[in-house]
């Protein structure tokens, strides 16, 4: 059972590349790895928690009122994550900005609750939330890495916001950031990089 969730989440139904859900944060925050990773982890948390909160109550939720109820639960969980990130790392919170509260409106969270948690029992729902979120996180990290290297010439910039000031040395400067290919750091670069990833995924799927 869990094998299926792993395959779906990471490859077959990948949230970012196949379902194309949650594109708004995917495109907006992935200017570097740190942002992509942090938002991905936040999304994993929200998805796991929302899936295991919804799954037990799925039989008591009236069909006609399910979306407001789901959203209310998700919103509560996102608020927890939002306040936690604010408490743990203020610079990262500022960098991610509006996109943490916006996880509420992220289609992928509602989509998994609606498509999976409201039809399956708690444990598979937990797996589904985790691996769907993990799949999205991978996409966010790859996009962040590509855009950071090409656009800014750095790797792991701002990582110290996440794990502490003393890890500032982790930032790798590959070339002077004024020589960077600015387009990659701008929104069109996100679209182009994402489409390149989708092309890659389709190529691999075709080969199979």
């Amino acid at each position: 059972m869990i094998k299926e969730q792993i395959q779906d989440g990471l490859w077959r139904q990948n949230a970012g590349l196949v379902q194309l859900l949650g594109l708004c944060p995917t495109l907006a925050v992935t200017v570097n790895i740190t942002n992509g990773f942090a938002l991905g982890v936040a999304t994993i948390f929200v998805m796991m928690l929302s899936n295991i909160s919804i799954s037990p109550i799925r039989n008591y939720v009236p069909e006609s009122a399910r979306v407001p109820i789901f959203i209310l639960v998700i919103a509560g969980l996102v608020t927890i994550v939002d306040l936690s990130i604010n408490a743990l790392s203020k610079p990262l919170y500022d960098a991610l900005g509006i996109f943490i509260p916006l996880i509420v409106t992220n289609c992928i969270v509602l989509a998994r609750v609606e498509a999976f948690a409201s039809k399956n029992s708690t444990l598979p729902s937990l797996y589904d939330g985790f691996f769907m979120g993990l799949g999205l996180t991978f996409v966010l990290i790859i996009l962040g890495a590509v855009r950071e290297i090409v656009g800014n010439g750095t790797l792991f910039q701002n990582l110290h916001f996440l794990i502490g000031e003393k890890y500032q040395f982790l930032t790798i400067q590959l070339f002077d950031s004024s020589d960077g290919f600015l387009l990659a750091a701008l929104p069109p670069g996100a679209f182009i990089a994402l489409s390149a990833l989708i092309v890659f995924l389709n190529l691999v799927n075709q080969k199979k």
């Binding site: 004024s178 290919f181 600015l182 387009l183 701008l186 182009i192």
Partner: protein
């Protein structure tokens, strides 16, 4: 009895003949550009166009199209040429190749190749370079007048490859850019320290674009609707501003002779693929590009707005065509 063509067939007009005429019309201005700014642009043309044709062939091969007819139709050739004459001649070659890549692979073939590209390939390449490398793209070589030696240096360049530093790296912004900066700093137009010798090269090249464009109209490669509406539109809107306040806005003639006005009017917006096909639509297209250009030039962050105006209006072409479709005879 003499065998004659049916009267509808007047002249063989294929894509490659059209493109060849366009190149012919561009040649005089290229001559001036070499004279004023050095022969580097020739190297750019050789490498850039070679790379463009190479990418074109690869894309055609990947898309299972016959390579020979499409590479030889000259559309990639002209797109690369237009991109190269719009960027500074002293641009690093790798930057230029990135621009070529975006114009051929992304703007043209990713959208379905010749005939299907909604955006002007040369302008996409230009816009990508301008927003990605603003420092490189706004530094033009300084002209020290028309120098025949530039041509001689070109041949020396080929005979003694890399033996001497052939080009001094004196660069400056284009007049349009300089004036914009000065006006932004609060200077008044009538005391601007822009000398005639700075302006002259750009304006003479622009005039040759104008003459080349007239040649294209004469040869019926393009119709007069697009160029005339763009030129009149830029003239009209910039004179509105000029009459409003002569100390902070440049004269309409300045706007016509500087920047890419004539190049765009005759060679860029007339791209048959990405411009409207209806006559009314062409006029609307030209006027709106002129309006957006004047707005960007006077109030925007970039020195010349034509590239962005063209790209923006390219998206509007389906809409323009929808509303300007001529009525079919016999229908209500």
């Amino acid at each position: 009895m003499a065998i004659i063509d049916s009267p509808a067939i007047k002249e063989r007009s294929t894509v490659s003949i059209v493109m060849f005429t366009v190149i012919l019309a561009l040649l005089p201005s290229l001559f001036l550009q070499i004279g004023f700014f050095g022969y580097q642009i020739l190297g750019n043309l050789f490498i850039g166009i070679g790379f463009a044709l190479f990418l074109e062939a690869i894309c055609l091969r990947l898309r299972n199209y016959p390579i020979r007819p499409f590479v030889l139709d000259g559309s990639a050739f002209v797109a690369a040429w237009l991109l190269i004459v719009s960027v500074p001649a002293n641009i690093p070659i790798w930057t230029l190749l990135i621009g070529i890549f975006f114009s051929i692979v992304v703007a043209k073939h990713a959208y379905g190749g010749i005939g299907s590209n909604p955006f002007n390939p040369a302008m996409i390449g230009y816009a990508v370079l301008l927003i990605s490398f603003p420092k490189i793209m706004t530094n033009w070589p300084v002209s020290e007048g028309f120098e025949v030696s530039n041509f001689i240096q070109f041949f020396e360049f080929f005979s003694f490859l890399n033996t001497n530093e052939v080009y001094d790296a004196v660069v400056s912004a284009t007049p349009l850019d300089q004036i914009k900066t000065l006006l932004f700093l609060g200077e008044e137009v009538n005391i601007l320290p822009i000398s005639f010798s700075t302006l002259a090269p750009y304006q003479m090249i622009a005039l040759l674009y104008f003459l080349g464009g007239l040649f294209l109209v004469y040869k019926k490669v393009i119709t007069w609707h697009l160029p005339l509406s763009l030129i009149l539109s830029i003239y009209f809107f910039s004179s509105l501003l000029y009459f409003y306040d002569q100390s902070t806005y440049m004269s309409p003639m300045f706007h016509l002779l500087n920047g890419a006005t004539f190049l765009a009017a005759f060679f860029i917006i007339t791209d048959p693929v990405s411009s409207p096909t209806t006559l009314k639509g062409k006029v609307i297209f030209g006027i709106l590009i002129g309006l957006i250009t004047v707005i960007i030039r006077n109030y925007g962050g970039y020195p010349d707005g034509i590239a962005f105006a063209v790209i923006f209006m390219n998206i509007c072409v389906p809409l323009i065509e929808k509303f300007t479709q001529p009525k079919v005879f016999g229908y209500e």
